[in-house]
Homo-oligomer: 273 residues x 2
């Protein structure tokens, strides 16, 4: 997985989408490594949640982006599914509604942010508003440029307020996407996940890749870095995102808050009942 | 587990909190039975979510109530944790904030409701507003009576809009609560879960039991029934709530929506790329 240096362009076409950089040796080892992460992830999540009850405002926001079938939903299911649901705030963003379009593009994002102690997960995000409009020419180029700056200011403010922002681009290959779309078409239980619009987006593949490159170049910051995760192999994708969350949560280092009451006295009172 | 008949009083003191009515023969069998529920629960949840993408407004709301340490949080972690987090909307309600108090007691509830296709989970709920005020005499009795009626009208409207409302009272014993509070006091990692206020509530145990009996008598309806789950045994509690969710989801019977596009034509277009 690659952390995009601020202001630098990650040439997506040159990155191997089936690679497993830094990862376990194969699927079996990967699955085992993922299972080993479950306990420390759950422990850190509980500490983060506990700390918030004593006023700690820190929290984490995971932003998942990627082409159709890149595994955003699968990551939520398999990686976020390991956490305690009470501390998770998951939001899958669709095309904006009429009400959402009437507001700034960050309005619906603000409303979905994790609260102190929570882990927020965005399946798609405010980045859609610098990708789709740019690729489809829906918004003038200078307005997209202004949005990059707005996003950076927004994410900096989040970081200043205690939000660890982790942005992940799930990078799949053009061939791999064909296989995955085909699997959706060939299974009636998966037809609901498919829309003919997916083929239109696929036809715009190079434009989307360029829009992603540009968004990451402009918006990978110290406060809120972008990571590119090769995502053709699902086990590697899960491992990489889990690892990233583990590292960021360890960096937060949340602690159980000390008692703000007299433990021995409460103990006595309880035993008298 | 007992479904409270509308208008009838469930005498909580006469129900054995360590019983396992209708359940597996013991902890080992219970744990196994819970594990066997995971796949059908996940399947039904996915169908429910999928159906909503085609306009099906149906969803489920699980309301969890019970005395401190009765296992509301544990149920969320162990039962709800089996679902895909993207389709779950969990909300733990605390004492109302100043802003929440400035609104009707149902205002904050409305904002936390599950959307079509989702499973909503309330750890505490609008029922707190007919329990705490009654027990502590914060609100005149006639106002509490009016709230029962407001709750029934509110829940009936939810049911009419496609929400399957399942309300569960996790029933623990007075002795069992002492043990669980003691365990919290004796483990510094659990101090954040304890507050001296828990002892004040414990001192009001009979008044709370009565307030629960009355709330269930008034508000167990055909549209939104109350269930009493004996909760001294955690495995039974998890099994019973899982079973209840499974039954209600099976009754909803959500189906994958049929394709609203030409599958063969899309297949051809895809293979040409």
């Amino acid at each position: 997985m690659l952390r995009v240096p601020p202001g630098e362009r990650a040439a997506l076409a040159e990155l191997d989408t089936s690679a497993t950089p830094g990862g376990p040796s194969g699927k079996a080892a990967g699955t085992e490594a993922i299972a080993r992460m479950a306990a420390p992830l759950a422990d850190l999540q509980e500490r983060l949640y506990a700390a918030s009850t004593a006023g700690d405002r820190r929290r984490l926001l995971l932003v998942l982006q990627g082409m159709d079938t890149s595994g955003k939903g699968g990551t939520v299911k398999h990686v976020i599914g390991q956490f305690n649901p009470v501390g998770c705030r998951v939001r899958a963003f669709k095309a904006p509604t009429r009400e959402e379009r009437a507001h700034s593009f960050l309005w619906r994002i603000e409303k979905a942010l994790p609260q102190p102690g929570e882990i927020g997960i965005f399946d798609r995000s405010h980045y859609e508003d610098v990708l789709v409009p740019r690729v489809r020419g829906l918004v003038p180029a200078d307005r997209v440029e202004r949005r990059y700056a707005q996003i950076n200011a927004f994410e900096k403010a989040l970081a200043d307020d205690g939000v660890t922002v982790v942005k992940v681009f799930l990078h799949i290959g053009y061939e791999e996407q064909r296989e995955r779309l085909l699997a959706r078409l060939d299974d009636p239980r998966k037809h609901w996940k498919f829309s003919p619009g997916d083929l239109e987006d696929r036809a715009l593949w190079p434009a989307y890749q360029e829009a992603y490159e540009l968004a990451m170049e402009r918006c990978s910051t110290e406060a809120a870095p972008w990571y590119v995760v090769p995502a053709d192999r699902k086990w590697y994708r899960n491992w990489a995102v889990g690892k990233l969350l583990l590292e960021r949560l360890e960096a937060i280092g949340p602690q159980y808050p000390p008692a703000d009451f007299d433990v021995q006295e409460c103990r006595k009172r309880l035993l008298a009942t």
